[in-house]
Amino acid sequence: MSVSVLVVDDSPLARKMLIKALPPSWDIAITQVGNGLDALAAYREGGVEVMFLDLTMPGLDGYQVLETLRKEGLNCLVIVVSADIQPTARERVLQMGAIAFVKKPVNAAEIQAVLKEYGVYV
């Protein structure tokens, strides 16, 4: 059974770069959205198991998405993928329930290590 993955980033290029960095042998069904509101809508439809979430987005940003998910009872693994590499940004998203923070430009080995750590890719 494929793992349901949601990729949230306002930049189509950034989404492409991220998807390219995912393990090729990982059996996944990918949905892509370009903003926070669409991310919440996709999440609320149910079934999302892993969410890759950008922070700096127009409208609802990644922090606001995380905050909303937390209020609604976070029920998926959120990996934040951001160019905002301030240590405080990392601390904040981990406190808000993200399982990991991956800096841009994404590194395939780093993502793979996170996925293995949480047992979603073996």
């Binding site: 987005m57 160019a83 905002d84 590499i85 405080t88």
Partner: protein, 202 residues
């Protein structure tokens, strides 16, 4: 004006995003404050449109500005625009007495500019696999209306690439805008580098 394709513009925005993140982290470390970042703005403008674009971004305010040239495989000029009395609000974070005089305020904004431009443009050049060098920063304007900061004659080409990123401290009344301006002939060089980036990573 379309001297960049939609793909190149999008690529450059993501590259600028990474550069901005590195600059934000540098300034956050030095000031020990959280920096709020916004989405980079990438647009090609005619020289006559630059001044209006600056007012759109910073508002109709009194500003000071520092300029710093950069030279890589592409050349251009970075301008960091500061809102009125920028030094006062962060003087203590930089080790100064809060009642800074004009000379100290210059020192502060020259230092901040150097850090932001070096990290941001350095980050952009690194993504593109290019080396980059910088001139010393210099005061461009001191407490002038934003609409008088830039004159079209200064660009000297038919159009210019305008990349803007915004940095604001979360807990202080301090924000600034970093602009990178590249004349038309340099944009073509940059565009080719962006194409190679997209080909490699996109």
């Amino acid at each position: 004006m379309n001297i960049l394709t939609a793909d190149q513009e999008e690529g450059l925005q993501e590259i600028a995003n990474i550069g901005m993140g590195q600059a934000g982290a540098s300034i956050a470390t030095i000031l020990d404050e959280f920096v709020v970042l916004s989405i980079p703005n990438v647009v090609v403008l005619k020289p006559g449109e630059i001044s209006r674009q600056i007012v759109n971004i910073v508002g109709d305010e009194i500003v000071s500005a520092v300029r710093q040239a950069f030279h890589s495989t592409f050349r251009g000029e970075a301008i960091v625009i500061y809102h009125y009395h920028p030094g006062e609000n962060i003087a203590d974070l930089m080790g100064y007495d809060p009642s800074v005089d004009t000379i100290e305020e210059y020192e502060i904004i020259l230092d901040i500019t150097n850090i932001l431009v070096g990290a941001c443009l350095g980050g952009i050049a690194a993504q593109l696999g290019a080396d980059i060098g910088f001139s010393a920063p210099s005061i461009m304007a001191e407490r002038v209306p934003a609409n008088r900061l830039f004159s079209a004659e200064e660009v000297g080409t038919s159009c210019a690439l305008f990349i803007e990123v915004n940095f604001a401290l979360e807990s202080r009344n301090f924000s600034c805008h970093l602009l990178a301006l590249l004349p038309e002939q340099e944009v073509q060089i940059l565009a080719r580098a962006v194409d190679q980036f997209i080909e490699k990573f996109g």
